[in-house]
Symmetry: none
């Protein structure tokens, strides 16, 4: 019983991770269900016991991988002394960590960026095997904001703005080196993030910036 449940879970996980490998190496369109099933050591028909279709699998994967990346970044960054300096330092460290990671995993970047959208992210993150992911990410984020005594009326919109900016500019710089390499662009991205923070927050003890 417990055995069976576990078995199912492991098969699902196997399918998921196998598919990820293939998507990332051969592209979404270039990967067939047969490929996935075969490499996962399952029958093709079994695939459809776990996912409605190829697209269902993709969306779950995008949300899952995005969450993982952010969570990993949060975990790694929490150890940086720099990142302890406050909310902004934390955000910049996160940005650097993630973009650096993506620069070394261009396939992941391609996969995520082409398919990610805030909606899918929230929805799928909630509807999936890791329903806690998004909540966890958001909790961490709020907590650090609070620890720094930052007032922000729309923390979600701020996060959204940052994620969209970072991922879309990162996509272009890393994948096409256009209009600049990541290295060249990063300072400007940092400054932009700094400024956007000002647009959304009332730093402790001050009135609205600008």
């Amino acid at each position: 019983m417990g055995k069976l449940e576990e078995n199912k879970k492991s098969k699902r996980a196997s399918l998921l991770s196998t598919a990820y490998d293939l998507f990332v190496n051969q592209g979404f369109a270039g990967t067939t269900i047969a490929d996935i099933a075969k490499k996962a050591g399952l029958a093709k028909g079994t695939f459809y016991l776990y996912f409605r279709d190829k697209y269902d699998l993709r969306d779950q994967l995008v949300a899952r991988k995005s969450s993982q990346l952010i969570l990993e970044a949060q975990a790694a960054v929490s150890l940086y002394p720099d990142a302890q300096q406050g909310f902004e330092a934390y955000l910049l460290s996160m940005t650097d960590y993630m973009l650096n990671y993506l620069q070394h995993n261009k396939h992941l970047l391609k996969f995520i960026a082409k398919n990610l959208s805030w909606g899918i992210f929230r929805h799928a993150a909630e509807a999936t095997g890791d329903p806690e992911s998004f909540a966890e990410i958001y909790e961490n984020y709020l907590q650090i904001m609070k620890a720094d005594k930052i007032e922000c009326e729309q923390p979600e919109l701020l996060l959204f703005t940052l994620i969209e900016l970072i991922s879309s500019t990162g996509y272009s710089c890393i994948l096409y080196n256009s209009p600049a390499s990541l290295k060249e662009y990063l300072p400007y991205l940092h400054r932009s993030i700094h400024q956007i923070l000002l647009a959304f927050t009332h730093p402790a003890g001050e009135s609205s910036a600008d």
Copy 2:
């Protein structure tokens, strides 16, 4: 001779506009070369006389449509009294115009956003039937900046940053109403743009902002 040249041009244009209609209504994957050729009144094989393949066509189309939208926005906005107030006012007007337009042309938004990248944009814009488009857009932009006596070391990076931010957040708000509707998000987008400007420019007679 001139006739023949014209003939070719008109066929190419026909293919392009037909393909756009179909991509926008049935999606890229849902549109076949046969569909395009038939609707354009040409034989399937003829398609390959004008485009290397389906992807070539798409990329040219994305660049073309993006340019058109921006050029149209520039033209329209140049008539606004508001937009005459300076560089920032101009950018905000442009933003409003384009997002409003996209909100009423969601298919265009979908098509552009999924496939647009700064690289493709620059490259294809240059390599295409309207080779002047990108240059023209950029010229206008620089001119207005100059007219407002704004100093900016990296005007291209600024433009890039703005376009990426606007299009990626717009995509989510318009198409998914997530995390907020466009109407709700717009004030924050405006503020973000304002702040990003500060990050990139030295307004006349001042030292670096922040």
Copy 3:
């Protein structure tokens, strides 16, 4: 024990009637074992405890439904004053009753007609849950013939001829209105039946017809 036996019987019956509903509504090929089992509240594997395969089920069903229709017709018709007038009147009433019924149950017609054959009919009718059906039908038929003092050397061949004629022409008229509607064709069918009777029987006190 008796309980258990009953249980099995009821499951079998449930499978049978569920399958019939589905076959009739979605067609034989359009119905899966999974559909049947699910709707019957049983597991897929259980199906195979009761039927050898999908075809076994179908054949049993065809025979069962055909028998039911004829038995029902016999029962209904036995109450008609008309049908008391003799063997021919009885056959014509039966014909009308059945064709009328099938006209209002086209799905049944389709299902039966496509799959019925005298062989399956006899065999399956005997091998099935209602092994008496065919015998019962045939008994009734013989009895009425006898009551009318009709001599017939090959009553089974007569019945066969009539059933085949009625069902195949009925199929076409009802389902396709081709070459005529049932209403238009019925008079001719009646006449044909009348004539076929003459071909097979020696009405009391006469020598061979024609």
Copy 4:
């Protein structure tokens, strides 16, 4: 040009005859498009250039084969001295010829009988490569009737009745020997045909029979 047209026609014919062989030997469901194409020496995709789908092919085939059988029978029978004796003799000869033929081509019988219906017959026969077939058959039939000076108000319904009776009883007798072998049943079928003729016709110089 003429070459190409011919080429297409021969491919279509090849597909048709190949499919027939396979359907008849492996059954309709047991034959795949791949089988057909391969055996016809064409690519799988080519099949779909000539037929909408498997069912389209089947229907055309059924109509074609039925027509061929009848036309062949008409041609063969026209040489019989017996068949010159009049309309009834002609019909009986036709019946014998066709049933005899089918007894030696049980696969054809199976294929035709399971799928034939008067509607498909007329429609497909008209819509197909041999648009004259049905018309031709019917012409012959009318002509012989006329030559024998037979009056018949509904010649089409008569033909329909006969075809349905002959094919459905033949099916059972030949394929299942049930309720009798063809040999045993044939005399009764003859008598039935004779009688049905009487039901539909006013033989020259007489009033309605019976």
